[in-house]
């Protein structure tokens, strides 16, 4: 059992008031809050050993380099990657996806097909569309069902010898559906296609094992997992990373530079041009340590409890409809009130100190599928409480009353 009161003490922001009310933070799928343990690591970095890494011979540079590389190992262990050099630091999930899409530009041609799912965030659609424009490859879409699940029969039918890449999110940001990624990966591999899994929404809830999944690429952002913004990671199988073109040129990623020819550094530096977010990388490692100390099994059990409680209580409100009703989902509830625009509900909830996300959640194809302008999305984290869900439910009731 988690001691939620004790956990909440780790998060200074949860003591805040918004519009004169105690903050109820239910926008965790957009970004999670940061515990004092991670804030301390950030403060310690800038107070004690801020230096550029991998090049200085001085003590501070060595210390910063050691901590940064230690964070890479923490991430490697967390995701169970075979080698540390298979972990590339990026500025986040979007950067990681763009890095892979760009890396494939010479490995794909006009006869090839790429498969995307209907449940994707724009960041896992647009970079691939750009790759298709560049190469002439075709983009195929796995359709979704009314419950917000992927149509797996349709997926099987889309796969062929032409399929080179499949990219799907582990968990849908707009609906919370957990996709059957192990099956998706296995089936793609039968046709020799590589698979990228966008784990931005999964990592706050699940501890993925990239070797057990046999996934080719797995990407995520630190700020969804109690870490800072502006840092994330790409896990890539070594053989793929070696085949891929570097994404950005610059310092750190080179072996030898002359004006005639430059040779690139080995992994992971080939993909880490320029001075990275050093403090962010170290704090990313600290955030994973924090989450692991609590335990992902305990987090999952508690968040399921919050999801079930929230679903039951919200459905008691007449005219409230939940989008994404898969049995296999994380603690995300996307909903609308009949005849009421989500923006109006979100605005009134904000006045009551309740932070939810409204709009299309950067997943316009899903909104088009349901023919709605957007939804109100409440996403729960392990530091949320049932009392906060009660506040949300009475807030929604009040908004409904005011708007009807």
């Amino acid at each position: 059992m988690l001691d939620i009161n004790l956990i909440r003490k780790d998060f200074p922001i949860l003591k805040r008031q918004v519009n004169g009310k105690p903050l109820v933070y239910f926008d965790n799928a957009a970004t999670s809050q940061t515990p004092q343990q991670v804030i301390d690591v950030i403060v310690d970095y800038y107070s004690n050993y801020n230096a550029n890494i991998h090049r200085g011979v001085h003590a501070l540079s060595q210390e910063a380099t050691d901590k940064y590389e230690a964070a890479r190992h923490t991430i490697q262990n967390h995701f169970n990657a075979k080698k540390a050099q298979e972990i590339i630091f990026t500025s986040g999930t979007t950067h990681a996806i763009n890095l892979v899409a760009n890396g494939f530009s010479k490995l794909i041609n006009q006869d090839d097909e790429l498969i995307v799912s209907a449940l994707e965030h724009h960041s896992n659609i647009v970079p691939w569309q750009m790759l298709c424009e560049k190469t002439g490859a075709k983009l195929k879409v796995i359709p979704m069902t009314l419950e917000g699940e992927l149509d797996m029969e349709a997926y099987t039918a889309l796969l062929s010898e032409k399929t080179k890449l499949v990219f799907v999110n582990h968990i849908s940001n707009a609906l919370g559906t957990i996709n059957p990624i192990k099956t998706i990966i296995n089936q793609a591999h039968n046709f020799g296609a590589a698979v990228l899994i966008d784990g931005a929404q999964a990592c706050p809830h699940i501890k993925p094992d990239v070797q057990a999944l046999d996934v080719d690429f797995y990407v995520t952002s630190a700020h969804k997992i109690c870490g800072p913004t502006g840092v994330g990671m790409l896990y890539g199988k070594e053989e793929w990373l070696n085949k891929m073109e570097p994404y950005q040129g610059g310092g750190e990623m080179i072996d030898q530079v002359t004006f005639e020819k430059t040779t690139y550094a080995g992994l992971p530096h080939k993909f880490e041009a320029g001075t990275p977010n050093i403090c962010g990388g170290i704090a990313f490692g600290a955030a994973l340590d924090y989450m692991n100390a609590i335990g992902f099994d305990k987090i999952a059990t508690y968040e399921k409890e919050l999801l079930d409680y929230g679903t039951e209580k919200l459905l008691e409100i007449e005219g409230l409809k939940i989008y994404g009703t898969s049995n296999n989902k994380t603690s995300v509830i996307s909903f609308n009130l009949e005849g009421i625009h989500p923006y109006d509900v979100g605005t009134l909830l904000d006045k009551m100190g309740i932070a939810v996300r409204t709009g299309h959640h950067c997943a316009q194809p899903i909104m088009s599928f349901y023919n709605i302008p957007g939804t109100i999305r409440a996403s729960f984290a392990f530091y949320n409480t049932k009392a906060e869900i009660d506040a949300l439910v009475s807030g929604v009731k009040k908004a409904k009353m005011m708007l009807s």
Partner: protein
């Protein structure tokens, strides 16, 4: 005819009677619900201003050297603010519209809705109102 400034002062006065956010927002919601804002034939793709969160439609016509604005939105609170903006800017001379500002929105506690990051279409709507005023002003010269 009331000047824009007089109308804005009147609105600030009305809002000063509300005691809390609930009364303020309930008033805006009611404004949003009751006002017929735009003729259906002008609710076209051309007249649409796309915010990330809500959509706004604006249409302008000039008669007797005064511009009349009609508008609409798919979100009620946005519509309530549109009603307030139209009350101040509609039926005014283009030059007066160009000279006017929207500082009164801050005074009535609705500033956050005119933030460019809010993405509700209102900032673009005000820009569009000013553009119409520029266009009609040019016609008059």
């Amino acid at each position: 005819m009331q000047t824009i400034k007089e109308i804005q002062d009147e609105i600030v006065d009305e809002f000063s009677m509300f005691e809390d956010w609930e009364e303020r927002y309930q008033y805006m919601i009611d404004l949003g619900k009751t006002l017929p804002l735009i003729a259906p034939e002008y609710k076209t793709e051309d007249n649409i201003i796309k915010g990330c969160q809500s959509k706004v439609w604006v249409h302008a016509e000039m008669d007797d050297n005064k511009i009349t604005f009609t508008a609409d939105s798919d979100a009620i609170i946005t519509k309530g603010i549109i009603a307030i903006l139209i009350r101040t800017f509609s039926n005014q001379h283009p030059k007066d519209i160009l000279d006017a500002n929207t500082d009164f929105i801050d005074q009535i506690g609705l500033k956050e809705h005119l933030s460019p990051t809010r993405a509700n279409g209102l900032v673009s709507m005000i820009k569009q109102i000013k553009l119409y005023a520029i266009a009609y002003q040019t016609q008059l010269q």
